[in-house]
């Protein structure tokens, strides 16, 4: 082996070791969570620590479902995520179509108004929105969770960026064929926007699913809670004494999004990092 290749091989081995170590450190907590959720209390509270469970038990999941209505929480989360993300995508699509393909007065101001909301931290709106939602009688309701967060600024922005790149000729041809705006939007613009559509939809799904502070403030009825809020309830009931149960519920909160991420990684990452391109 020549001097040059061996000098090259050494850093390569070094980076390989570093990468493996980094992967273990970053991945271990998730693995540890899943393992702990299927261990018996005896195995969990045993010193020195037992790394692998001797047998898989679903007791922790069953007990979590007894303490909080886990199935109901899962349905609530799925329903609210689909409704929230779906409506957000439609609102963003329509708004961006108007901003790009329609001519109307104060268009620039409307666009500025939409974009500026990206810079307004949601935290400052929480107290007034809470008061409004309470006065509408929307505390402990699905619309109370859903409606205040529906408006789409990020989606509108990404859709607009994409629409500006669409070939004008196709839309002009559609117009000559007598297609109205509604038809142009759904038959021509939407089919030409699949990647952006997927990115915006996936980012919305992740944000809606993980959203915590707002649903936590608006809901205290367990039947109406989302999964992350239900996890708080479980933490308050079980304290830190019952790790297996708490971690079983944590798996239920994280696993669905983890699966979405693993299956649709490329589109989701493209959406989540889109700010870097446009910012």
């Amino acid at each position: 082996m020549s001097v040059i290749t061996s000098r090259r091989a050494a850093p390569r081995a070094g980076s390989y070791v570093a990468m493996v170590l980094a992967t273990i450190v970053l991945g271990a907590p998730l693995l540890w969570m899943v393992l702990a959720s299927v261990k018996t209390p005896g195995e969990l509270y045993q010193l020195p620590l037992q790394w692998l469970p001797s047998q898989l038990t679903t007791d922790n999941y069953a007990q979590a479902a007894e303490t909080v209505p886990l199935g109901r929480l899962l349905l609530n989360s799925i329903g609210l995520t689909i409704a929230g993300a779906g409506l957000k995508v439609v609102l963003g699509l329509c708004c961006a179509y108007a901003l790009v393909f329609l001519d109307f007065p104060f268009k620039k101001i409307v666009f500025g108004l939409v974009i500026a909301t990206l810079m307004i931290p949601p935290q400052i709106t929480i107290i007034p929105n809470y008061t409004l939602v309470a006065s509408l009688g929307w505390l402990n309701t699905y619309q109370g969770i859903l409606v205040p967060g529906l408006a789409s600024a990020f989606g509108t922005f990404l859709f607009r960026q994409h629409f500006l790149t669409l070939p004008a000729s196709i839309l002009e041809a559609a117009e000559l064929d007598g297609a109205g705006h509604w038809r142009k939007l759904w038959r021509f613009v939407v089919p030409m926007s699949a990647p952006t559509l997927a990115a915006v939809a996936l980012v919305s799904v992740v944000t809606e699913w993980n959203d915590y502070l707002w649903p936590f403030l608006v809901i205290d009825n367990p039947q109406k809670m989302t999964l992350p809020v239900g996890l708080t309830l479980l933490q308050n009931i079980d304290g830190m004494t019952n790790w297996g149960v708490l971690l079983a519920a944590t798996v239920v909160v994280t696993l669905p999004i983890l699966l979405v991420f693993l299956v649709l990684q490329r589109r989701l990452v493209a959406g989540l990092t889109a700010g870097a391109v446009t910012g």
């Binding site: 390569r12 970053l26 907590p29 931290p121 400052i124 500006l164 915590y212 403030l217």
Partner: protein, 325 residues
């Protein structure tokens, strides 16, 4: 697009705002033109109206109302409110807890932003090497970023459990005693910083990776031919070319770190003795735990101003970036 799971380079300019392909724009002022303009207006109301209305009601209205609420002595849900001008702001500046909150916010923000930038760049440099398994490593690194912050907090609380946690076990393996992560200052703050880093590292690494892949290979080759060491090439060629990426990440991480809530809520509830209460957390604490909604609105306004300054700095720089490239 290749199969590489990275976004386009942040240095790529946004597409120019070309004139929209709308034939209505060119419509002559005939009766037909007027009718088309009117129809465009109706369609604009139908299509953009709902989104704009929601933004006005749930973002702009509360923004303005929050400024107003900050001038009131008012408790959440109470029918009585008294106007006290800037009284809440004066009270905040003089409150005995304020210096602690400001210090905690500073430490948390600097450690999370600085740590994420340095470690993220390191991870990106590793993942930029053409070695087997880097796709898997990238997936593992990015996964925590998409998970619920609250769930992540619970999971790490177990990791840090002083008796049965994995962290104390690993520290024990190298002969170190486990600190009292839950109770003894400054460990609770260190704990939430570590968790925040774990969750956001993959994002920083991925953005840096995209930046690294846009650095022209011939520049690096030329430097190597001139006898520059890899470290020297990184410092003098690669890092300067990554400046726009670094700046973008700095601002993004600053904004998200200043607004982080879920992890702290899950792990420490701002305690013990307020040692993990950041500015953001104190808004929730004052407004919804102590019920002092007027005072909390004043704290929210302070946070809003801080975020506004960060954003303003960013907007100034974005214009300069053009000269750089």
């Amino acid at each position: 697009m290749t199969t590489v799971d990275t976004p386009p380079a942040p240095t790529a300019p946004a597409p120019p705002a070309s004139v929209p392909p709308s034939s209505t724009r060119r419509a002559p002022r005939t009766r037909l033109g007027t009718r088309r303009r009117r129809s465009a207006l109706v369609w604009a109301l139908i299509l953009a109206g709902p989104n704009v209305a929601l933004l006005l009601v749930f973002v702009y209205r509360p923004l303005l109302e929050s400024f107003y609420l900050s001038t009131l002595q008012w408790n959440l849900g109470s029918p009585v409110a008294r106007s006290i001008g800037l009284g809440n702001y004066v009270a905040w500046f003089n409150a005995p807890s304020t210096p602690t909150v400001v210090t905690t916010t500073l430490v948390f923000t600097l450690a999370t932003v600085g740590g994420a930038m340095v470690l993220g760049l390191g991870l990106a440099l590793l993942l930029d090497r053409k070695i087997a398994g880097r796709g898997f490593a990238r997936t593992v690194a990015f996964a925590p970023y998409v998970l619920s912050g609250f769930a992540v907090g619970i999971l790490w609380l177990f990791m840090f459990d002083p008796r049965y946690g994995l962290v104390q076990e690993l520290l024990g393996l190298v002969g170190l005693p486990s600190p009292q992560w839950y109770t003894e200052r400054p460990w609770p703050l260190v704990m939430v910083i570590v968790v925040y880093l774990w969750k956001n590292l993959g994002y920083v690494a991925l953005i840096y990776l995209a930046g690294l892949q846009s650095v022209p290979q011939d520049l690096k080759d030329a430097a190597a031919l001139d006898g520059a060491s890899p470290a020297r090439t990184l410092w003098s060629i690669v890092l300067p070319l990554l400046t726009p990426t670094t700046f973008f990440l700095l601002v993004t991480m600053l904004l998200s770190s200043l607004q982080s809530f879920d992890i702290i809520k899950a792990m420490t509830q701002g305690g013990p003795l307020g040692s993990t209460t950041t500015l953001m957390y104190s808004i929730y604490q004052e407004g919804f735990v102590n019920g002092r909604a007027g005072y909390a609105s004043a704290v929210a306004t302070v946070l809003f101003l801080v975020l506004l300054v960060v954003t303003a700095v960013q907007m100034r720089f974005v214009q300069r970036k053009v000269h750089y490239a």
